[in-house]
Symmetry: C2
Subunit: 315 residues, 2 copies
Amino acid sequence: MAQKRRVVRGLDLVEERLFTLASEYPGVLGEACLATLAAGGKRVRPLLTLLCSRRGEPVGDPVLRGAVAVELVHMATLVHDDVLDRAELRRGRPTVAHQYGAGIAVSAGNYLLARAFSELVGAGATAAVDLLSATAVGLSEGEVLQRAEAHDVSIGPDAYVRRCERKTADLFSAACSLGALLSGAPEAASVVAEYGRLIGLAFQVFDDILDCSGEQAATGKRPGTDIRDGTITLPLIYALEGRPELAETLRRPAVSDADVDAVLSAVADSGALGRARDDALRYIAEARAVLARCPDTVERGLLEQVAAQVVDRYS
Amino acid sequence: MAQKRRVVRGLDLVEERLFTLASEYPGVLGEACLATLAAGGKRVRPLLTLLCSRRGEPVGDPVLRGAVAVELVHMATLVHDDVLDRAELRRGRPTVAHQYGAGIAVSAGNYLLARAFSELVGAGATAAVDLLSATAVGLSEGEVLQRAEAHDVSIGPDAYVRRCERKTADLFSAACSLGALLSGAPEAASVVAEYGRLIGLAFQVFDDILDCSGEQAATGKRPGTDIRDGTITLPLIYALEGRPELAETLRRPAVSDADVDAVLSAVADSGALGRARDDALRYIAEARAVLARCPDTVERGLLEQVAAQVVDRYS
């Protein structure tokens, strides 16, 4: 169908543009950016931008810029996170930090972040740049929150949700808003923003469940990473309610593989994964309800499919 | 005189705004930003923005935003540089990276960078945001260049100047342009940009000379830092011409204090400091010549004084 073709074509253009931006740089910075790009990723955020733009017309240059900008911001946070987490692998490939060193990785992240703004400025919409910069400010707060709250076994679901909003959901939300704002449909911006926030929360909760239960093949990283880093995610919060003795391990700055396995099986036995999953499904249901209130300008049917795919990813 | 009062008042407002932005954040991110601010700095970049704005009127909100934005970008690069250089002191105080750890420092830098864009977007001038993002892109290239060229004793003065443009001069240049652009004097932008670039180059060359000759009291850091990091600066490039045997030490990834002292005295004896100083003075002279072509809208007299102060800093 025509809508789908329009979006697929749009995603191709986003991909091309990302590769052009990365290859513009000779030397190691370009290499590092290309490596980050080549590692793939689902391009969920640009997809959301395209789907929330005014339908029935070819995707315009401002919308493409918005889609590219949100992915660049996302890539920047990945590159920086891998520096801070000293991660060696992401999606099964060596991270920029591991391959090129922390120096190149910090600069590559800064480059990608600054580039995001250059791209978006070209769209000529002040409100859009404003939104992206506020979101980027929130992202750095989210990173700090995650580190400040590391090993803090007293945090509850509310603090967890607040952190996920900054770290993940606000960028999903911005991706959606930008689609509306940059295609001359500002009336749709606030409702798609809410849809995006809910999808982002669901996405993060599923991601955190996968880390407690998934295989490396599904996520490209070792399960139990959050336990190793002391990131107290929703499944861990729920598991701690019934099994407070897990706190001792989760508080420790370093844990053995055996410790991680013990926590993982305790979490699985506690019913925490099911409770977390119910929360994620509730976010998805709320997102669908919001979608029903969306104006006709957005690709409602395809946004329904995205909601379904976020769920499928876990099942 | 009234012009000077206007600028002093403007700098006070910039300072207030920077403190407000930093203190808006509770917790460790706010502390880290406040520490960076409190460490002072000369606020040369905001000063340039104010001096290049249309004179004879109170400093408007857009110009203040521009001045705040350039300082925030500068602060972000300092915080990130200290992570990469593992620096423990800056201006005689512990660095954010040393005091709070690399994680907080990377996030604080990202926060400051993203904040710079939020500030500037509020000024409502697309060209200004465009300029700042291009400059921020260049800054990350400059950082990468500096690392890529570390210990490379074959680089000449041209490569050095290219690196200084990205790393320093382009932000000075942007600071000046923003003053013109954001005060409704776009006709002055390109000429003040050139003045700023030249002042920035002179500033960097003097800084590099100070690192080869200065006392810790003058710079707040140990002399010889560039030699330790393998950053081949102009004085070292000139010294290498007559004393190729220095290459052996400068190529080494790690050098002793005695090695650093030996290089420092060889540089002093070689006449390289005088040659570098002549280059810096030539940039200052060119900057003055550019100033003579500036339209009346800018504070020409005070910009002359800035040029003189950059020289005084070294003598």
